[in-house]
Amino acid sequence: MNKKLLMKFKSIIGLIVFSLIVSVLSPRFLTVSNILNVLRQTSINSIIAAGMTFVILTGGIDLSVGSTLAFCGAVCAYFISAGMSVFLAVTIALAIGALVGLFSGIIISKGKVQPFIATLVTMTVLRGATLVFTNGKPITLGSDKASEVFSKIGAGYFLGIPIPVYLMVLVFMIAYYVLTQTRIGRYVYALGGNEEASKLSGLNVSKIKLSVYAISGMLAALAGVVITARLSSANPNAGAGYELDAIAAVVLGGTSLAGGAGSILGTIIGALIIGILSNALNLLDVSSYYQMIAKGAVILIAVLADRKEK
């Protein structure tokens, strides 16, 4: 138990050490405005990664998050520019995200298709659907009242802290509660740990699978809403490749892709590492080609350091 706590602290300490090194190299790194900046940038990947954590804990994977983000963002922008209320448009976008997840979940649990393929299909189909829906062009919001209000979700502040940061914290608090304190949380771990045993214990395995993909879809939709609000515009190619970042955050956070073991706290740390890394490399003015090399190297060091603990 104490060892576990130490483990958790260890990653946090690693994160802090890393931040300190960067702040020595670039004095602008540890300014309040940059920290808020990093947090806001991290919020998108974090929100997606929170949902991805549920999926990966069950031993699944969700490749469709990027497309879901784009599709739901576009739907939301469309409805708002068509005059719908912000609340309703956002609710519809989140509901569609959950439905998309349910769709993948049904293919996986009822159709017995491997999650990788099922969500690859969803990813491809939904990207196509987004392009058809937007005709390949961004849906840009006007400057009417609703659009202004909506844009606050991505660009606004409350008490000096960006709204997306609140959303991210809220998502993680709920995810933490669900995963550690509720039955469904236990079942997610159980399913990932041993599907056969879970079935034999009388768990409704299908229902758990449907739930995690729905959660992932809904959070991807939320990320889509935030990005769209931030840009006041929904891009049909938004979110391409985001699945890899989200999965990387989850796995960097110590969750095993085999399922059954890991934590949502790890995911935040993973997402922060990735976020800080991009920000730091930019602040340090590393040229974009070398950024890729540096990013890979740091991620490797992070996982290797983490592994030593086990």
């Binding site: 771990y189 740990g193 214990s201 009388g202 059954g260």
Partner: protein, 503 residues
Amino acid sequence: MKQPIFEMKAITKEFPGVKALDHVDFKIHKGRVMALLGENGAGKSTLMKILSGVYQKDDGEIIYEGKKVDIKGPKDAQEEGISIIHQELNLIPHLTIGENIFLGREPVNAFKKIDWTKLYKDSEVLLKKLKVDKSPKELVASLSIGEQQMVEIAKALSLNAKIIIMDEPTDALTKKETESLFHVIHELRAQQKSIVYISHRLEEIFQVCDDVTVLRDGKFIGEAQVKTLNEDQLIEMMVGRKLTEQFPSVVVEKGDVALEVKNLSNEYVKDISFLLRKGEILGISGLMGSGRTELAKSIYGALRKDSGKVYIDGKEVNIKSTQNALKEGIAYVSEDRKGQGLILGLSVKENMSISSLKDFESPIFKINRTKEKKAVKNYIAQMAIKTPTERQKIKNLSGGNQQKVSIAKGLMTNPKILILDEPTRGVDVGAKKEIYDLINKFKQTGMSIIMISSEMPEILGMSDRILVMHQGRITGELDRTDASQEKIMKCAVGIKEVSYKDE
């Protein structure tokens, strides 16, 4: 006998190529313990899986308190008041003991939050009852097989069911835990619960069971009260013929030292030294978690050694991996056939030859399949492994037959030293005898055998010499001639200095 509370009538179940159950009748009586016996592959587990909703019957009916019932899944069975300890472990490694016990039935408060205090308190009570000295907050992944089995038992008890099915619950348990289990069974019977008890350890049947039902080749053979039968009669019902002496001890002249271990220590075992001679069977006994498996794995190169030396035929060897061990002529057969012994998705043949594939390799790196098949078929015949063909997936074999394949895999490497960890776990009486005969045969050729076993009669009957372990150390070394259950138990609890109370 009174009217049974539960009755299965003419149950039939077929798997591709195997008629597992053929019009089997089975009764369960209130407040009594029903033994379900039969050879490996007789259909015992299949019958119980139908009762607990894991499999669906092809034909027949199930009657519960006079009413026909339909059990569609594990949840249905739970609701009918049936709980089962499966033959194979079914736990979630990264959840705690307590979480595993109450999986699917966690107590929650008004806000849907799990009531951890209650969950762990209730788990604690169950563990105490079974005399398991582990915190319910410990992860299942860190438990030994035996300990995991106790968690399975606790889980089955926690359901507070009317019928509790135990499919070979003691096959990974030592005497001590077995006794706690029997104590609990007596209590349950007193509470008018019904129990189905499956085991290949016949002496246990006489200790705890009231009635017995025997299956053979998927067919119902008979039902009787245990007190009307003796062991020989039981065996005859099961295998259809009489068996000669169960432990045919073979005396082999003392050979040279084949293996010497000197002061071996690591995380799990401390300061282990012993000798093993050619043509000798060295039994290792001890309580659950005493470190026997770890010792074997340390010698075999699967666990790291911190200090100590190992000599084979007088020469020091440095075994750092399992490949090294095999090269030096050591083979190890795991106690955990499902988790560590077999590759369930592969066939009988592929499993059996995996450690010795090199021997079947022709130039151009091609596996000589004819040769491989011949060798495999030879073992299938020798060990009477029940399988339609050598191409059958190993996961479709009954537990005992899987175990035989596991042993055959070790034997196929032609080892000088064979380490058997619980070699007859889940093996039926007939097959046990076949395995013992085989072990003796290899012993006669000069092979040295280390046999870790939790089954007292087996240890006493087969070993030339017995080591007893306690908390990672050797606490006793007994010769065949002066070993007894009492002496072993005394060393096993590690208290030579404290006097052992005999009751």
